[in-house]
């Protein structure tokens, strides 16, 4: 039997998929729905913000970023939970717990670490917290919270230490901001000051677009950018953190299907959080992602999700090291060439031309082994092969 459960920071999740801290973590009811839809854990919208950051824009605060009409990203200018802490403590957390998923409670790091610690203590007293997520990463720089704390290793360390001291028994997972140059430094500071896990990351600070007809921005303030188009950036970040710290990582960023979730795990995330996918397609997408992971594991013969964690890391090298690998060149399967000439169009090295019979012809001497044409070809007629081997075979790979 395929075992989807996974141990994360000492907490056993029934599967590695968590709903992230987002709109659909607004209330206990929303978290309960996510849990009933199958999520292994649920993260609430960050609670306990200082009074002055309590309000968020209500004049349209979410805009999709579309490419050729298809949404590939989204900016939001949403800040923290607008439900006050007392309501979360009195009822919302209780409702959320009815879903029987693991409860990850996201708390706002207040400017004064002692306030954050007080907040954590109060929430912990409900007995409903499995893991704390510490929001030091909201990309809307209001006052001196969010990423204004998260970009400074010293400030983050103070927060982590304060919360750990107040609630030593509850695993603590600070959530990183991607809007700095080296996240690994922050993650290391968290680990060194006692954090039990790292959540990586919050959304990318962005400006989603300009209405060219009016010359006005689609959203007038910088907000957090998320969705499938941020996924490659987040994979890179998770790798950097995984290479730096030993504590487990909860990977976040653009995961909208099972394949992306497994990618996250393979680069070192033990759990995976999904946000925008649920916002766009509803709670049922959680079940679809889990089903996909299960189908994949059966197909590949994986017995347990923990076998997936970090297996891609050992193959990740630097570009300098990559340049030492043997060069490749492109070859053509003439039977598959449909004569569209798109490979000629995208070749920056004049290595491909169209012959008179409408079939591509490759000049191997010019080919620099970039591989772009192979992926642009609509009929998989091009392939990369080892250049040295090809020359050895007299430019005919089939010999």
């Amino acid at each position: 039997m395929t075992d989807l459960s996974i141990d994360f920071a000492g907490v056993k999740f029934r599967n590695p998929i968590l709903t992230a801290s987002m709109t659909f973590g607004w209330s206990g009811e929303a978290l309960k729905k996510a849990a009933l839809a199958g999520a292994g854990g649920v993260v609430c919208k960050s609670i306990g913000s200082p009074a002055e950051t309590f309000q968020h824009p209500r004049c349209g605060r979410m805009v999709l970023y579309k490419y050729n009409g298809i949404p590939i990203g989204m900016q939001n200018n949403e800040i923290f939970s607008t439900v006050n802490v007392q309501d979360w403590l009195d009822k919302e957390l209780k409702i959320a717990a009815e879903g029987e998923a693991k409860m990850v409670v996201s708390i706002v790091a207040n400017p004064n670490p002692a306030d954050t610690a007080d907040l954590a203590k109060k929430v912990a007293d409900t007995g409903l917290v499995d893991i704390f997520e510490l929001n030091v990463s909201c990309p809307m720089p209001v006052a001196n919270v969010g990423m204004n704390i998260g970009k400074d290793p010293v400030l983050v360390a103070e927060q982590v230490k304060a919360v750990k001291k107040a609630c030593p028994d509850i695993p603590l997972m600070p959530k990183m901001t991607p809007n700095i140059s080296d996240i690994a430094v922050i993650a290391k500071a968290c680990e060194d000051s006692g954090a039990d896990a790292i959540a990586a990351t919050n959304s990318i600070q962005a400006l989603v677009g300009i209405d060219v007809e009016t010359g006005r921005p689609l959203l007038p303030a910088f907000g957090g950018y998320s969705g499938p188009s941020v996924h490659p950036v987040m994979l890179r970040i998770v790798v950097q953190i995984a290479q730096t710290v030993k504590i487990p990582i909860s990977g976040i960023g653009g995961v909208s299907n099972w394949k992306q979730a497994i990618e996250m795990m393979m680069v070192g995330a033990t759990t995976v959080q999904i946000g925008t996918a649920v916002m766009w397609r509803g709670y049922k997408v959680i079940g679809d992602i889990i089903s996909g992971i299960e189908s994949f594991m059966v197909r590949k013969g994986y017995k347990s999700t923990k076998e997936l964690v970090g297996i891609a890391l050992k193959h990740i090298i630097t570009t300098e090291e990559m340049a030492e690998l043997p060069p490749v060149v492109v070859i053509l399967d003439e039977d598959l060439c449909i004569g569209c000439g798109n490979c000629v169009k995208v070749c920056g090295y004049d290595a491909i031309e169209m012959k008179e019979n409408d079939i591509a012809k490759i000049n191997i001497d010019n080919c620099d082994g970039c591989g772009l044409c192979v992926q642009i070809c609509p009929n998989s007629a091009l392939n990369l092969v080892d250049k040295m081997e090809l020359i050895k075979k007299g430019n005919n790979f089939n010999k």
């Binding site: 394949k259 397609r281 079940g287 679809d288 992602i289 089903s291 996909g292 299960e294 059966v298 197909r299």
Partner: protein, 453 residues
């Protein structure tokens, strides 16, 4: 919508399937699901196709419908899910059935990717089912999954009922059908006894805790025209069974090759017979129907296909007699034209013959396909209440007048679609499960005997 059933059953490859799936907007109201008799969660399975989780997609379908591939092929979707699809312009509704067919066939080809289901613990209760058609098998599968020990009795040589004997292979490849049946039977350890005629009394003698009757409608309605006994007159289902046997290269000689054929009727069986006649080399094929195209009950894509195949439609005509030659073979069929009057009991306009409009068609073969009815000696029992048309009376739980005996499928509906039979089979199974959980476990034999005391 669909041009004809050939287009409807075209196969997708995975890139095409994903492309088609992406057209589904996964609307929350999901009118397609509401239109599906078994309630397959259509947006869900399509969502999984988008994610390339084809096994997971079929898992969603099979939660509600054990015959995922069969329904993908033959469901009258242009009257159900596809007709109700939210997506319209510019490419028309999402081709839901083709997507379903794709995932079902994918699963058959990638058996090793399915997680082995551990055998359920048997609960010790036994169920006997009469008739291995879509209703009986669906109930059998559902109950076996819950741990019941199920035995299905089938009169014919193969299981599948109308799916096997009443639907031509150009609409439903035999391989899909038998694979879906056999995989499930093997997985669940169900006993299917084919070639086994059995009556209610006999079944009651055996120690079953509940019985399901799903024997279908195999007796054919006839106009009893003069000349009905001439050589060359067939009943629709017999003809379809004959051509199915020929397709399987089992036996039989082709009766329609190079012949002029007339089909009487306007339903699915009539359309299947007409198209089969063309496929089997009939020189000329007429279809005679007493009302107009508008009232014709067959699936529109099948009517369209019959037209494209060259079937000549004589609508608004009623056959009066079949005329034979000296050797007792069919020679001509005489019909009379009709006009349509006010709606009759069935809600359709009543065809009224127009005097002095008789005409004759030169034909060699007449295939009568005007409907089926229950009439079945195996289910005759004084305690089993039936409706005037012969269908078995059941309450809303599909329970008959005899406690512990349930019924589902065409034998209660009088003749409907495969998907409707599947829905009823599952409903009956759920009721049987409930019945056996609320009634103290005792087998029917003792219960009936107790009643006789």
């Amino acid at each position: 919508m669909y041009l004809n059933s050939e287009e409807k059953t075209k196969s997708f490859q995975s890139p095409g399937a994903i492309f088609e799936a992406l057209r589904c907007i996964e609307c929350d109201s999901a009118p397609c699901v509401k239109a599906c008799p078994v309630g397959v969660d259509i947006p869900r399975f399509i969502s999984r196709i988008k994610m390339e989780d084809f096994i997971g997609a079929n898992r969603i379908i099979k939660e509600k419908c054990f015959f995922s591939g069969v329904c993908g092929y033959i469901c009258p979707v242009e009257k159900l899910c596809v007709q109700n699809c939210c997506v319209t312009e510019p490419l028309g509704p999402v081709k839901i059935n083709q997507l379903q067919k794709f995932v079902a066939e994918y699963e058959i080809e990638h058996k090793d990717e399915i997680e082995k289901i551990l055998p359920k613990k048997m609960n010790g209760k036994k169920i006997g089912i009469m008739g291995a058609g879509p209703a009986g098998l669906s109930a059998a599968f559902w109950l076996a999954e819950k741990g019941y020990q199920v035995t299905v009795y089938e009169l014919k040589k193969f299981p599948g009922g109308m799916m096997t004997y009443g639907i031509p292979q150009y609409r439903l490849p035999r391989k899909i059908l038998l694979t879906e049946i056999n995989n499930k039977v093997k997985e669940l350890g169900i006993k299917i006894k084919t070639n086994t005629p059995i009556g209610i009394i006999e079944l009651l003698q055996k120690a079953y805790n509940a019985i399901l009757i799903s024997t279908g409608t195999w007796s054919q309605v006839s106009l009893k025209l003069p000349g009905i006994n001439l050589t060359g007159v067939f009943q629709g289902l017999d003809f379809l069974r004959l051509v199915n046997d020929i397709s399987n290269k089992k036996s039989g000689t082709n009766p329609v090759a190079e012949k002029k054929v007339a089909i009487i009727g306007g339903g699915d069986v009539a359309m299947d017979a007409a198209i089969s006649a063309v496929n089997f080399g009939a020189k000329r094929t007429f279809l005679i129907y007493r009302r107009s195209f508008e009232e014709m009950p067959a699936i529109p894509s099948e009517i369209k296909m019959a037209k494209e195949k060259g079937v000549m439609f004589w609508v608004r005509a009623i056959p009066k007699k079949i005329i034979g030659d000296n050797n007792g073979n069919v020679k001509k069929i005489e019909c009379i034209e009709t006009k349509l009057g006010k709606p009759d009991k069935t809600g359709r306009k009543k065809p009224i013959p127009v005097p002095e409009t008789e005409f004759q068609l030169d034909v060699d073969i007449v295939i009568e396909a005007i409907g089926q009815k229950v009439e079945n000696e195996f289910i005759k029992n004084k305690d089993l209440k039936v409706n005037p048309n012969g269908t078995i009376k059941t309450n809303k739980n599909r329970e008959t007048s005899i406690p512990g005996i349930f019924a589902a499928g065409d034998v209660i509906s009088g003749g409907s679609t495969v998907v409707q039979a599947i829905a009823e089979g599952v409903e009956a199974a759920i009721s049987i499960d409930k019945y056996l959980k609320t009634n103290i476990a005792k087998n029917l034999k003792s219960e009936i005997q107790g009643g006789q005391k």
